[in-house]
Symmetry: C2
Subunit: 344 residues, 2 copies
């Protein structure tokens, strides 16, 4: 992890930069990432904490504030040095109310007034947005989406999230919930999803889906080395163990990843037909599976989408890795506060 001390940067110019400083927070199901960020997308300092596994809204709010303090402390800054704070949170939130209503990956959070609590505790104007929308904005301003007018950002990990950029602007819908592409059903009578739907894209094409299918195949007695990679414990089989087995030529592991790629491609084809985007950015932890996942995904998209929609779209890997969320959340906060983020 790259860390840059605030002093180091200030030292180069002989004084503290006049650029607006922001704090971006990325709240996920397992980790909280906070970073002090410049308007140009430089990361000044960074804190990474675990999302508390016990306690409700209170515990998570406390962890968010602690993480923010830590990032500020590392940069030798106070909250008063910030122009704004942006929070990107997994789940269904509304930028206008600042409330995180529900979060499939943070079920203990419900109707949590993240924006107002953080704003009150820090004294800094705060804005709340969906985490994948934040990441899309980060990629648009500083990553793989630079100069694209219309693009879809797809992040594939335990679930599937998305962000939509249209005419160079993040599209968040009527109440901030746009981009829940992972909950597009591609199998109307398929597996039940945590959202209440069935056969949602993420029930078939996510890391969770891959692990579930691997566990099923092992239980049904399919010959494979996947279980050995998980120390012989079925419940410890995740996408990572399937990948490890595939890297050593395990045929079932190869087949399962390819099948996940096929499902990924079905959803991509839908998005190409709906949005006719010029660019599709694919990120998230599951893309570590690389070409084993992405080659069948893009092949399937090409077979199923309108040929002209497929040809119009470029596919690119997310360029900012785990930082897209904090960079995008910070940029969103600056935009909402009236400033203009960008690489300068």
């Amino acid at each position: 992890v790259k860390k840059q001390a605030r002093q180091g940067k200030a030292g180069k110019t002989g004084k503290v930069s006049q650029e607006p400083l922001l704090l971006g927070i990325d709240l996920g199901g397992t980790k909280i990432l906070s970073a002090v960020v410049s308007a140009r997308g430089e990361i000044i300092s960074r804190d990474r904490s675990a999302t508390p596994s016990a306690g409700g809204t209170e515990a998570i709010l406390r962890a968010l504030l602690d993480s923010a303090s830590s990032a500020l402390g590392q940069a030798a800054l106070k909250a008063a040095d910030l122009v704004a704070i942006g929070v990107g949170a997994a789940g269904f939130s509304d930028p206008e109310t600042g409330i995180l209503y529900t979060s499939p990956h943070l079920p203990r959070l419900k109707d949590a007034p993240l924006r107002d609590v953080i704003s009150r505790e820090t004294g800094v104007e705060t804005f709340l947005i969906n985490d994948a929308s934040a990441a899309a904005l980060g990629e648009y301003l500083f990553g793989a989406g630079r100069k694209a007018r219309h693009f879809i950002y797809v992040t594939v990990s335990t679930g599937i999230g998305g962000g939509i950029v249209i005419n160079g602007e993040l599209y968040t819908g009527a109440t901030g919930g746009a981009g829940e592409i992972g909950h597009m059903s591609i199998l109307h009578d398929g597996p039940p999803c945590s959202c209440g739907g069935r056969g949602c894209w993420e029930t078939l094409a996510s890391g969770t889906a891959l692990a579930r299918e691997a566990q099923r195949a092992i239980e049904s007695g399919a010959p494979t080395s996947i279980l050995a990679h998980a120390g012989g414990e079925l419940s410890r089989v995740t996408a990572r163990e399937v990948h490890a087995a595939a890297l050593r030529g395990d045929a079932l592991a190869e087949e399962l990843i390819s099948r996940t790629g096929y499902y990924l491609g079905v959803g991509l084809a839908n998005l190409l037909n709906i949005f006719n985007p010029e660019l599709v950015i694919v990120g998230g932890g599951l893309t570590r599976l690389g070409d084993r996942l992405l080659t069948p995904a893009i092949k399937t998209a090409g077979e199923r989408a309108f040929p002209r929609a497929f040809r119009a779209a470029r596919f690119a890997a997310a360029a900012l890795g785990g930082d897209s969320g904090v960079l995008g959340a910070a940029a969103y906060a600056l935009q909402r506060a009236g400033g203009q983020p960008g690489p300068g």
Copy 2:
């Protein structure tokens, strides 16, 4: 069909209106509708012709020009009186090239340079757009979408088409193909679709799908009066005959329509989760089935979409009937020619 003579209107004001006049053309799989339209959305004259069932691109181009002449003639106008011509065509076209590349419902048309031929033959600046996008713009400016910022227009007839309005502007994608929501797969291994995909929404929730399922049920010996409504000929069973049977209490017909409504709702839920729109406008011939179709559709959407996305969306019936396409195509042409259409 309402017809208004140009002279009648001019007579009222004592002189010919100074408002910009446009010609809108709506090219569908079975009919061509042309209308002289004012910038404020008044229809001055109208021609309705059948799409030629024989011949290729040439025959269709000739029919388009004949229909345009007829509409102009009825209004006692010449092409030179028009500011611009807008063509809304079923299929995959690109406003930038003016070419209709492919059309599932007009398979004889391929790479047809509609814009340039019509422009050359009439001497009037011409613009080409997808028919459902045109209808969405028509509903936005003059119909059920007035004052909505973000909405999705869904038209359900032999297929399913769509138009997307975001921030008060028609969104047509990178190459004019956005809005092909009918080709979003909701059953990845479902029935093959004319587009090359499988289980596309329109293979399950369109009038064609309803007719196919009715024919299958009849063939398998299900007790029903549907066949009697089609004069005993299986191949003449369409959505209309299923509807006629349902109106007389035929249980199978009721069940088939309700099932089509369920599929319609699955796709609507997907669109709610993806776009979080404030409004969904549903139009097209199949909506004549009324509540039998729409009640299960909206119920299913409510069960499957994120509750907040469902609650944020209002559902409205298209308000312009068969005129949305010509009104929208004309308005699109005026916008592209630098003018500003609207109800004034």
